[in-house]
């Protein structure tokens, strides 16, 4: 509580609110500091007071054999994950808790960590959370309270930037458009809440997930509105609440193409080591899109698909696991390729359909990256090199 009080002071909050639920990001191992904090909380008899989900960890506890890092990393990573369960958190181990039974309701006050989950909860569901980092999300969960500031307060949820999509590259699917728009608003909107105008009607929940994840990687976006689509944006006037926007952006075909291009540093036709899908964690609907694309020749390289253990369970119920594995898919649960040590050293570049993975993998793993649509990722896996469709 002392930490939370000092944090509230630092963010200039005058009071606290009660929260309904929390999503804790602290179970991903970043070194001793993560473990020291969790174990100190256990020593002090800490226990969460509201339903609390857990973000992904550093290791796949369901498939521990996939881990290729040091023994110490594997042990400490697993220890940190278990320490959080000991504190009373649910072992969901997913960056997409909104795909689980713990999905929040519209208007719920929550304290969530994990940048993509935060932006999804605020934007797509209309739940209310700030960008809570490691440690503070657990403090909120253990006290059931959060400082009353930022996006918990309705007046701060109005749009202050208008982003208008004026033209869309021909033949682009809604997912690629979402990633390019997300990457651009992250880089250009700063701390302003954007209202996006002009996304096509077929934009799915998974597309919005991809948009938010890209925007929360290239920037600090915690809430966006899509006018005529997301919960708090029935029309532009309501979305802006009568405030004059501080920024107006118009995105053209050329801007969007450039945004997508900037996510790749491996040339078209360049060799690939693996394909990675599911950053954030792949949903059942995304598996349903992937399965027919896998019909045909067996890929030359491995396709890693990251998902939650709950989604893995659902795949098994549907008998989808065997056909996926037959098509050279490695299913990863509880963690994600780019935050763990799952790739053979020196295997080569990664191709992904995720703006977030494309943003972080080169720094985290020291590998080349190619960004493309889901269909391009599968075609590239088949060829072992970057294929554009």
């Amino acid at each position: 509580m002392r930490l939370l009080a000092r944090f509230a002071e630092a963010v200039d909050a005058r009071s606290f609110i009660d929260i309904e639920a929390a999503h804790v990001d602290g179970c991903l191992y970043h070194g001793r500091a993560s473990l020291d904090f969790a174990e100190r909380m256990i020593e002090l008899g800490g226990r969460v007071r509201v339903p609390t989900t857990l973000n992904l960890g550093s290791v796949d506890l369901i498939h521990p054999e996939l881990f290729r890092g040091t023994k110490e990393h594997a042990e400490n990573g697993a220890r940190l994950m278990r320490a959080h369960v000991e504190l009373g958190c649910a072992p969901t181990f997913t960056c997409a808790p909104y795909q689980t039974a713990w999905r929040p309701r519209f208007g719920a006050q929550n304290a969530w960590g994990e940048s993509n989950a935060i932006v999804f909860a605020n934007s797509v569901i209309g739940a209310r959370t700030n960008r809570y980092g490691d440690f503070i999300d657990l403090c909120c969960a253990m006290t059931g309270r959060a400082p009353a500031y930022g996006l918990h307060l309705i007046e701060n949820r109005l749009a202050r930037a208008i982003v208008e999509i004026v033209s869309i590259p021909e033949a682009w699917d809604t997912e690629r458009l979402a990633v390019a728009v997300g990457h651009t608003i992250g880089r250009r909107c700063g701390g302003l809440v954007p209202a996006i105008v002009g996304l096509p009607a077929g934009t799915s929940e998974d597309d919005l997930k991809a948009l938010g994840a890209a925007a929360a990687s290239s920037g600090a976006v915690a809430l966006f509105h899509v006018v005529g689509c997301t919960r708090e944006a029935p029309d532009l006037e309501t979305t802006c609440g009568g405030l004059t926007p501080e920024l107006r952006l118009q995105l053209t075909t050329e801007d969007l193409r450039e945004a997508a291009r900037s996510l790749s540093n491996v040339a078209d036709g360049g060799p690939l080591g693996v394909v990675s899908l599911g950053t954030p964690h792949f949903s059942i609907a995304e598996f349903a899109r992937l399965m027919p694309l896998l019909d045909g020749a067996r890929p030359l390289i491995d396709i890693f698909v990251n998902c939650s253990r709950a989604t893995l369970e659902e795949l098994r119920k549907r008998d989808w696991e065997a056909p996926l594995r037959a098509a050279r898919v490695t299913l990863v649960a509880d963690t994600c390729l780019y935050v763990s040590a799952l790739m053979k050293p020196g295997v080569g570049a990664i191709m992904t359909n995720s703006g977030k993975c494309a943003y972080y993998a080169p720094g985290n793993l020291g590998v080349g990256i190619a960004y493309g649509s889901l269909a391009e990722c599968v075609a590239s896996a088949r060829a072992g090199k970057v294929v554009r469709l």
Binding site: A10, V11, H30
Partner: protein, 143 residues
Amino acid sequence: MTARTFDAVTLVLGAASGPILRLDEPLSFWGGLEPATGTIIDRLHPQRGACVAGRILMMPTGRGSSSGSATLAEALRLGNGPAAILMLERDAIVVVGAILAAELYGLACPVALANSEDWEALAAAASLTLEAGPDGAAISADL
């Protein structure tokens, strides 16, 4: 050399001095900073390769992953974190990382909010001294 003093708002208590590192773009510590060396590793960051260790980091706003707090705390634990952080906007992720290093290891990385009109003058200084106390912060600059 002349010294000038600027008022600021304390976000995390402490005192520090050192040479400045002014970031041209905000940095996500997670995925952008290597705790073992204090080096910026974000591929798209204009200051990739620069080292934050021991510097007064001038970073107007925060960015990116909420795991940044743990990365900052770990960099500080290993002695590779910044000496202090100056910002123009409050950022919870940065603040929590610095508070944790203080709570767990007794390591001070003061964080303060400067005034935007002072930013260029601060950035022009060779080195800065920050004293962030409970009643406010003062930054003295050797110009």
